[in-house]
């Protein structure tokens, strides 16, 4: 049976973008209506997808396959497994909220929504592609709208605006800019970094394609029958890992990310930190883990080492930032380290936790960026020292901020808590040192977020926020309410989520570790709340 559910989720925003092309910028209501309608379709259907996905059977579901080119062995092959379902959901929640967050954009609203919808579709396209070609196709496609969204609707840093020497302002250096960058600089840096990472991954993909001898880009087929020559496996794995990890972003390749987050308009920061960065983790799991399981077992330690630098470096830098978006940006790159830790430990609990955390982080960081964007719109500054006392002006935002803060730190009742807990429990037996550092990183997160919270909401009311007002009843509050509700709901009732994720994770871990080790996992290895006698997935193609 062929279901078109995935195509609908994927193409609804695309069609929305196409329709927007024919609408004039003056019809703002119609522009907004089209954007809301097209993302709402994805939003509702992804919730349906989460509950319609049958975790008892697991595996790939809702698959659709159309031959695209026989000459090159490409097919348009869509489908989801337990790993991609939560990420599709996260993308559609964030883009739906993003449409409301950018409601008041004045300049070229239509173009903004067009690029935003293309970006969101491309992101979802990566999550549902089961063909290497289309995975790369959508991955690379997400970069260009990012450039335009940042460069047109982004904002300069305070340091850049304060530079009086115009010659210096125009010739801003590429490598060392110390938070004095323009939005165009940030956009270009992001585009070039991501494209450079993408072509490294593409080289790995081409190597897989030409050496497997199958003449196909289909991931399931390559994972099952591909015989990559043993001498090339390490090289390919490293190319794929570092190519995709650059968007994740892992420590030495992270520098574009906070700069990009900071320059982007709120909705784009949300999507960027929420789901775009997870494209990296997801693609590594999809390509490197599925196709090269043995090599993954040997080399995944690279992720375990580098994630420590991500966590500590990102956390420390975030602590000393004065710009709200830089704090959240560095905190995001620090939190990505947890996901790498969970991925590196290679057991069912930690990997399930990592994927749950991807979803949880998307909501938490989405809320934070939405509020940072709202405060910037009201006060026209992101500089924490020149803000303060906003608790009197915006009580609703303050309340929401507390919940976002709790989610970001991973306090119980939020879905982040469950993700973090599973990562920590799963990684402890494998990488105890890293786990301890990760726990310290949580304390650090608490530190810098509380510091920002105090700086924004307490103290003297600054002159810049004299005319600021609270979030308007519906349009401004709706996205925050949706994200809060999701975060809390799945924090209290995570079982559906965990079943779905572990139905995707279990066969993968079994394949990587070999059957023997899966059986020898302690009984506590099955995720909490999983029904007794939950069928172990039949591991495919393991020696």
């Amino acid at each position: 049976m062929t279901s078109h559910l995935i195509s609908l989720i994927l193409f609804a925003p695309f069609i929305g973008a196409g329709l927007l092309m024919f609408i004039s910028n003056r019809q703002r209501t119609l522009v907004r209506a089209v954007a809301v309608a097209s993302t709402a379709i994805s939003f509702v259907l992804s919730f349906y997808l989460l509950y319609a996905y049958n975790y008892q059977t697991g595996g790939l579901q809702f698959t659709e396959q159309y031959v695209w080119s026989k000459e090159l062995g490409i097919s348009f092959y869509l489908g989801v497994d337990g790993i991609s379902v939560p990420l599709v959901l996260a993308s559609s929640i964030l883009v739906f909220c993003g449409v409301f967050v950018s409601w008041h954009i004045g300049d070229r609203l239509k173009e903004f929504y067009m690029f935003l919808l293309i970006l969101a579709s491309a992101t979802m396209g990566v999550y549902v592609s089961l063909d290497l070609f289309f995975l790369y196709f959508f991955y690379e496609m997400s970069v260009i709208p990012m450039y335009l969204l940042l460069a047109i609707w982004g904002s300069h840093t305070k340091g850049y605006l304060e530079m009086t020497d115009t010659a210096k302002r125009d010739s801003i250096g590429f490598l060392f800019n110390f938070a004095k960058n323009s939005k165009e600089y940030a956009a270009m840096k992001l585009t070039l970094f991501l494209s450079a990472g993408a072509v490294v991954a593409l080289l790995g993909i081409l190597l897989i394609y030409t050496t497997s001898g199958l003449h196909t880009f289909s991931i399931p087929e390559l994972a099952e029958h591909g015989h990559i020559p043993a001498n090339l496996r390490t090289l390919i794995w490293l190319l794929i890992f570092f190519g995709f990890a650059s968007i994740a972003p892992i420590w030495p390749l992270h520098s574009w990310s906070p700069v990009g987050h900071a320059a982007a308009p709120a909705a784009v920061s949300m999507l960027h930190a929420g789901v775009l960065m997870k494209l990296g983790h997801f693609s590594i799991i999809r390509v490197a883990y599925e196709i090269l399981p043995e090599t993954t077992r040997t080399w995944v330690v690279v992720a375990a080492i580098l994630c420590v630098f991500s966590i500590v470096y990102g956390g420390l830098v975030a602590y000393f930032q004065r710009d709200t978006k830089y704090v959240i940006g560095y905190s995001s790159s620090s939190h990505m380290g947890y996901i790498f830790l969970g991925m590196a430990a290679l057991n069912v609990i930690s990997l399930t936790g990592a994927i749950l955390y991807m979803f949880a982080h998307a909501l938490a960081t989405g809320m934070l960026f939405a509020m940072a964007g709202f405060i910037y719109d009201q006060t026209h500054t992101r500089d924490i020292p020149s803000l303060g006392g906003l608790s009197r002006k915006m009580p609703f935002i303050m309340g929401a901020f507390i919940i976002a803060l709790a989610a970001s730190v991973g306090l119980p009742a939020t879905v982040n808590f469950i993700g973090e807990l599973m990562i920590v429990i799963g990684s402890w037996p494998v990488y105890p040192v890293q786990t301890v550092i990760a726990l310290l990183g949580i304390a650090l997160t608490m530190g810098y977020l509380m510091r920002m919270f105090r700086g924004l909401f307490f103290g003297e009311l600054s002159s810049s926020s004299a005319h600021a007002h609270d979030a308007s009843p519906f349009v401004d509050r709706l996205p925050l309410v949706i994200m809060m509700a999701c975060s809390l709901y799945f924090g209290f009732f995570p079982s559906q989520f965990i079943h779905v994720i572990s139905s995707g994770v279990e066969p993968l871990v079994a394949k990587i570790q070999g059957v023997a080790e899966v059986v020898s996992l302690p009984p506590s290895g099955s995720p909490p709340g999983s029904p007794p006698g939950h069928p172990q997935e039949n591991p495919q193609g393991i020696p």
Binding site: L72, E111, I144, A151, L192, S195, L203, L206, Y209, T210
Partner: protein
């Protein structure tokens, strides 16, 4: 070697596109003289009508599967030739369409302009069918001849005259190189025919090697690959923009038809010896073109250098020297045709109202004409190779072909160049979308120009999203190279 040439009526049918174009040429020339004070736009529309008929004839020939050798085997009409004939005709139609409003600004000789364009197109129609060294030489010169005049068409503009002179001197020099190379090859093998050179009994002699290298260098000049690119930037900048557009695409396609036959059919058995050379040419062209393009302030120069890099990209397929490689070349040329011609069409539309070709003149184009801005975005991103546009599939196809032949160094250089090229294309995109316009009067685009621009943009999108029929077309056209891989086995 005897020239017992017999012509049958069927041979004449195979020559129909060339015959029709010759007729059209004479008709336009006569009409231009008769209608002294007449409406020159009519000539353009008439030319395009004629070209459309010729395109239909070519399509009919492709469908009926014509595969003939004429005049001995000097002239071949096969699917490859038909593909390139259609390529040349389509680009000529688009050039004439975008020239209509441009020629109004020319001081005089507006009628001859179309005659010269058709004249060059006729040369190229013959060129893509050339199957021996002499036909190749004559048709190459034949097609370049029209360009010598077209490039220098604005004779009161010193830049245009300089461009024409540069093209002429280097063109003549190239012709002498090729002629010398041909004489050496003839001296060593005793034949001019491609098939007979391929079947020669003895191996590579020094004379043959030098002759081969000279011909390759000459063809390198024609396609403008580094280090034979020196004429490209000044000629592209100085020539009237529609001529630049024509020069940047149609002769390149025709020259690749000749290169494919010359390298794969004629010297395919010796490919181990020349692959390294082509890898070097390709790497040099891509890297040089892309790096120098970064520093350009004039949009035509930018596209000239990006054109050198694009030629480097296409050479990847030639270096792969396989059936897949030639498929990739044909497909990439298709994507390049629409993206490059589209970009030049936008340049013409903008320069007619701002009378400037600086990249700074594109500041805030999005506010002045959203249509031109959006299509320029599509064309530039396709040239850069960003999905879902045509250039991405083209580049991927080339890289796949090279990777299959284990040319990984070339693939790596090519991938690095994708990132470099993205930078300067994005700089233009930034001016168009981010910067505020200096003068914000809206731009109006003439209807015919609009059709070409929108058509090209649609083609770029269709080639990128649904390339299946085009890939099938391309793979069918290169069937004659199916044996190249087998022939090279020791």
């Amino acid at each position: 070697m005897t020239f017992a040439v017999q012509m049958t009526p069927a041979d004449l049918w195979a020559l129909l596109p060339e015959l029709l174009l010759s007729g059209l040429l004479c008709l336009i020339l006569t009409l231009d003289i008769i209608k002294l004070q007449g409406n020159k736009r009519l000539l353009a529309h008439l030319s395009n009508l004629g070209l459309l008929v010729i395109l239909a004839v070519i399509a009919q020939m492709a469908v009926s599967g014509v595969d003939r050798h004429l005049f001995g085997t000097m002239f071949v009409v096969d699917r490859l030739a038909l593909f390139f004939k259609a390529f040349v005709i389509i680009s000529t139609i688009m050039i004439i369409a975008i020239s209509v409003d441009y020629t109004e600004t020319l001081p005089a000789f507006r009628g001859e302009y179309y005659v010269l364009v058709l004249f060059s197109a006729l040369g190229m129609l013959f060129m893509v069918s050339a199957n021996d060294l002499l036909t190749m030489f004559i048709t190459l010169e034949f097609s370049t001849f029209g360009f010598y005049i077209l490039v220098a068409y604005q004779r009161r503009d010193p830049a245009s005259s300089e461009a024409g002179l540069k093209l002429f001197i280097l063109g003549a020099f190239t012709a002498s190189l090729i002629a010398f190379g041909i004489s050496l090859i003839y001296g060593e093998t005793g034949t001019l025919l491609f098939d007979q050179i391929a079947r020669r009994s003895h191996g590579l002699t020094p004379g043959l090697v030098i002759g081969f290298l000279l011909v390759l260098a000459g063809l390198g000049f024609k396609i403008g690959a580094a280090p034979f690119h020196s004429w490209i930037p000044d000629t592209y900048q100085g020539a009237p923009t529609p001529v630049t557009a024509f020069l940047s695409i149609a002769p390149k396609g025709a020259a690749f038809a000749v290169l494919l036959r010359f390298l794969l059919s004629t010297f395919g058995a010796d490919k181990v010896h020349w692959i390294g050379l082509l890898v070097l040419l390709s790497m040099l062209s891509m890297t040089y073109g892309n790096l120098v393009a970064i520093a350009q302030g004039n949009i035509k120069r930018l596209l000239a250098y990006s054109g050198i890099a694009q030629i480097g990209n296409i050479l990847i397929g030639l270096a792969a020297a396989s059936k897949t490689g030639s498929d990739a070349i044909l497909f990439y040329l298709l994507t390049y045709l629409f993206a490059n011609l589209g970009a030049f069409a936008v340049i013409i539309a903008v320069s007619q109202q701002t009378s400037g070709d600086l990249i700074d003149d594109y500041k805030g184009l999005n506010r002045r004409s959203p249509m031109l801005a959006a299509t320029m975005l599509i064309f530039l991103l396709s040239l850069a190779g960003v999905p879902p546009l045509a250039g991405f599939i083209g580049k991927l196809y080339l890289f796949v072909a090279a990777a299959q032949e284990k040319l990984f160094a070339l693939v790596i250089v090519g991938l690095v160049n994708v990132v470099i090229s993205l930078y300067y294309y994005m700089v233009v995109v930034k001016k168009i979308y981010v910067n505020e316009p200096v003068d914000s009067t809206p731009l109006s685009v003439p209807p015919l120009m609009k059709t070409v621009i929108m058509g090209s943009a649609a083609a770029v999108l269709i080639l990128g999203i649904y390339p299946r029929p085009f890939l099938a077309l391309v793979t069918a056209a290169t069937q004659i190279f199916a044996g190249v891989n087998a022939a090279s086995l020791p």
